[in-house]
Subunit: 387 residues, 4 copies
């Protein structure tokens, strides 16, 4: 049987909920069987109807869903909850889901602040349930290949990391137009203490640490709010210092922006080591540029025979048949479903299935956001991340 | 309720069957409920089990499936059949499905030869059922935009068309290794009179006619078999002459290859008119290059606000969140499901839903393949396509 | 002392004359000392003055120049003549120069027709003087590398060649506007029997034969004149068959165009062998794409340590400092100057210096033009090139 | 007559001297007539001989050259001096040249430190002679177009600037191998207080200020020396704050590196304003990416009809005929020669000719280098540039 999913959020007109559903659908491993798509019961049912759900599995609140589903027979009730609401609801929903006995796969950032993230970590530990966080860009095959190239030592000791995430969609006051995505992301009550860093900077941080296997130790940030009247930042420039490894302390830059007109969704990373370098761009995700001294520049392509096991396992199609954003996202869902299945069947999940960002990434991401904001307000040059 | 699909072919180890299933899954509009995945009943059931199908809906032959499903209650039985077998089975399966009352969505080429295609056209007409053909590359949003740009007259009268489809995977005798895809594609009994043109040249032909709205009238072909001992062609170079339109008779070139080492899946098209030109490449499908005299080269991107209605309807994500092969394929499935639903509900399908290659494309494609082979054998310079 | 050059053509307002002069200047090996820049003596002197030439070395005709210069002391008179006039003058000027004892470096195509080219070959042989033809695209370092890769056998036996030369500048009747370049190129009396093939198709042919080392044996051409009222072709699509080598007869396509709106100067070539393939584009000349089975795509870059001797000798700057059109052109001039110097000093020129297209290329190019035109008019599929 | 140039430095085996000579040669406006190519008189003469100079114009020191040339008749002696030595000699040579009455065109950085630069500014003012600095990247046509786009207001008020200059050639201890370029650049006595920032960071700074018309007000730098035993920095990450303009204070990042393996000469800039953005990369210098909200991404190409006057004046060839590094460099030489000529003839130089970086850029660049080094050593977050 497919793994049964319940969703919180993602009703009509939402963006990320539909993305999660497509990601869950793609591989035919997961079935959406229930949802609290809206805090308005009628809207929730209307959304569920479009998704071919029976009315009695469409709930008016997550609390109602968790209570009702918990009473259903084990072979019918939801097994995990996908959380696709604005940020401020991530924590209470995840907490309630876990305490009701359901695994959780949550959109990022995990919580509203670091304190909540730490509390969530305690709940995950206490309940022993699965918790996944959709840092979806790590789902790309060539991001996994990049990580494995660094791990294998082929780039040598890492010296420099440049990670960027420019966007331009908030270059004007889009929030005034009633655009839903802009509205809550620029509202401290619903988004947290940062707009730009919370929404996309944290993806960049996660990507940098995922690929390099290095933790950021300290940073120096310059946050800006370029659009007048906006309560949160819409641009960030950050100097990075990583932990020392192999005798080298890597340095880096991270910058992200929502006011860089013309940029679409330009997440990209470059990593330079003592023996070689790599570069990857989200908008052209099927190419990894690999450079070694005295060798021609190599374009490693998704589907290449030379790729490692993790990249191959994350790929569905032969070379030249491009896979993209939804397939990368689906890799997280497929892996998470495999974890749920292994837990249920008492088997050991594969190494690939375990490659889902989890509660440690959740805490790490919130620590990053808070440190960037603190640094930007500080006259000190370097501010350390809490360990 | 979701639209119910039965599949013929696509058992364990098959390539294109899995692609069709992911395309069908993505949007949550279609449910796979039955299959004749293999002509071996046990293998078919084993394949079905992996797909979470009940054993009694996994059949040992398409004939068995059509007979059994026809006896099921209307709200339970399959509504359409996806055909994902080697070429020589497309026709008999499509014929049987239609004659059993099921709509058909078939992989290409539609049949083994032109005569079969014409016969199929008669059956489609007679039964009045839906027939779709997965010329999946027309599912890309920017291919639809390209077509609409030509239609709108923005490029003026079309003068020149260059369409290419290079691959390199058959540069060696892969068929000797037992590789399943290579095995049947190079076998005239199962593939038809052409390997390269039948498998990919026909996609190029379909793309050129779809985008330009012009029919190829005559052609001059040079087919090659570069790999010794191979019974069918593995490379084709073709000069094209199109029908006259707006006072201009467009000329063109089409070349396709399976021996072009290093090429992946390089379908691409360039169209030059009296007022402008466009270029599109399948491997980077989210960019359409548009060139007008005395204007900078424009890179139209998937998700661009300036796109037309067809491209927008075929797009699921905002700019910079790349969609790719499976999403384009899924556009055909989504549209076909909408046609099936409209038929069932007695409603008029949307213009977008109607944008699925059908029986006319099927006949056209087979005519193209036969004409290319005939031209290659002829000492005459130009050979006309049958009308 | 620098090698002394006289120029015929290239007066005020001319395009290609200035290109030749910059190419001659770049390396400081050549000095322009005389010119017949125009058939109007005053205009010639005015042009020469801008070039800081003394009035008495600016002539009103090439005949006058050759006569006067021949009388100057050996250490003062011109050593070679650069011919940069419209096509129809190439032959008489080259003939006169050679017969006056001057080496010749001529723009292409070498003559107005094949008969003239053969006659020119006889004159070159008879006089024993140097003759160079500015097929300047062979001057690019990575074109030389491409040739050497094929020669070395790294691509195996060549199977397929695709060479393109699209431009768009004649998409309208530019010749009506008095634009000088368009005016004579579309005039059969001054350009010869072809506009597009003579002007750029011959570069494509030369490039294909230079890189592959294979001769085109026969071809099948479809010439078009898309712009109404134009006397010559402005577009050509050609199927190619090459001589057999290593047991393989390579096939190919060549197309060139002056009506492909939006194309700039898009000469490019792809060569596919049994062991690998390469691709090169003139507009991005510092990258050569090299593809081998089961290896990542390699981007060989100008200046790469891995390059062969010919490419290195043709490069002036380190990697990442792009060289381009004028530097490639200058490579021909530098090599030709080295040949003149070696001849004068009685030394053996280096292998690199000998890498200048010469009279054989001149004859070959004219044979190609005439065969394409003949094929386009023929109902026979294949027309052979004269040997 | 051509403008007469003398050169200091650039003898056999030198890199940048040859670049300057090719740049000076290209347009035929300048003649190299004398040189102090080496501090060894015999080596200087040997170098001069290869350049076809008479022995008596090849000097053993710059002092000797200036003294001897000053005694030559006005119509024979050098008019300006090109300085192409290691950094520490730039100032004394420029000083001596100016005080001997010769205009100066110097390689960058202008001097060894800011104090020298200020002193040089006083000498330039006092002598009233011309001083140019080869920030050659500003010579690219599309860099001029970028500047003009910003100036015109088409991008609105500037919010963010990202400028990068990664190289990888010093990733190992190349200086130990005796490589001449690496040797002096890593030696504080000859290079100054910075290797990476002095050599290439200053180009990035100059480019950012040239294109945006904004001055950097303060910065926060993190310099690194990744290669053990090296006395100077080989990598720099810098946060920038620009002066306020149009009510907006632009922020930015500048990073440069000599240890980024695989990078060639990757200078590039992105500028984001309230109405649009642009991007330019030195390694593909003929394309400028221009992005406006709700318009397709535009690739402005060198030679485009839509370009402004400055870009057009800096271009020699039609679209698609790429110009590159040497042509951009030659633009500075051509402009400087025009300034010298205008001065000599008492005419007003054209606006284009005036577009040569001068003494203000020289001072500015040295201030930047010193501020970056100071900031890197400081615990304060922001350090202001001296005004």
């Amino acid at each position: 049987m497919k793994i049964r999913m319940g969703m919180v959020g993602g009703g009509q007109g939402a963006f990320i909920g539909a993305v999660h559903r497509m990601a869950a659908n793609l591989d035919g491993q997961i079935e959406l069987v229930a949802g609290a798509f809206s805090s308005d019961s009628a809207r929730s049912k209307a959304s569920g109807k479009e998704l071919f759900l029976p009315e009695d599995r469409c709930y008016g609140s997550y609390a109602e869903m968790f209570a009702a589903e918990a009473k259903l027979p084990a072979e019918k009730r939801i097994e995990f909850v996908a959380i696709v609401t604005p940020n401020f609801l991530h924590f209470p929903i995840a907490k309630a889901a876990l305490e009701s006995g359901f695994h959780v796969l949550s959109d990022k950032p995990a919580t509203l602040d670091l304190a909540e993230a730490k509390e969530l970590a305690r709940i995950v530990e206490k309940t022993g349930l699965l918790y996944g966080l959709t840092h979806n860009y790590t789902g790309y095959p060539l991001v996994k290949e990049a990580r494995d190239l660094v791990r294998s030592g082929k780039l040598g000791a890492i010296r420099k990391v440049v990670v960027e995430y420019p966007q331009g969609w908030l270059a004007q006051r889009l929030e005034d137009s009633g655009q839903k995505q802009a509205d809550w992301r620029t509202d401290p009550k619903r988004a947290g203490i940062s707009c730009c860093v919370g929404d996309i900077g944290t993806h960049a941080e996660n990507l940098a640490e995922y690929v390099t296997g290095l933790r950021i130790e300290s940073l120096c940030a310059d946050l800006s709010t370029f659009v007048e009247g906006r309560a949160l930042d819409d641009d960030a420039n950050v100097l990075l210092r990583f932990e020392e490894k192999n005798g080298v302390r890597a340095k880096g830059l991270l910058h992200c922006s929502q006011i860089s007109i013309g940029e679409e969704n330009g997440l990209n990373i470059r990593v330079y080591g003592t023996k070689g370098s790599l570069a990857w761009r989200q908008e052209e995700p099927n190419t990894l540029v690999l450079r070694r001294p005295d060798q021609p520049r190599a374009l490693v392509r998704a589907g290449d025979g030379c790729l490692g096991a993790a990249a191959k396992a994350a790929t569905r199609l032969p070379m030249g048949h491009p896979e993209a954003f939804l397939e990368a996202f689906a890799n997280l869902y497929r892996n998470f479903a495999a974890l749920v299945r292994a837990r249920k069947e008492g088997t050991t999940p594969s190494e690939h299935a375990l490659d889902v960002p989890g509660i440690a990434d959740a805490v790490r991401g919130m620590a990053f956001i808070e440190t960037v904001v603190a640094s930007s307000r500080s006259a000190d040059k370097w501010v350390s991340l809490p360990r």
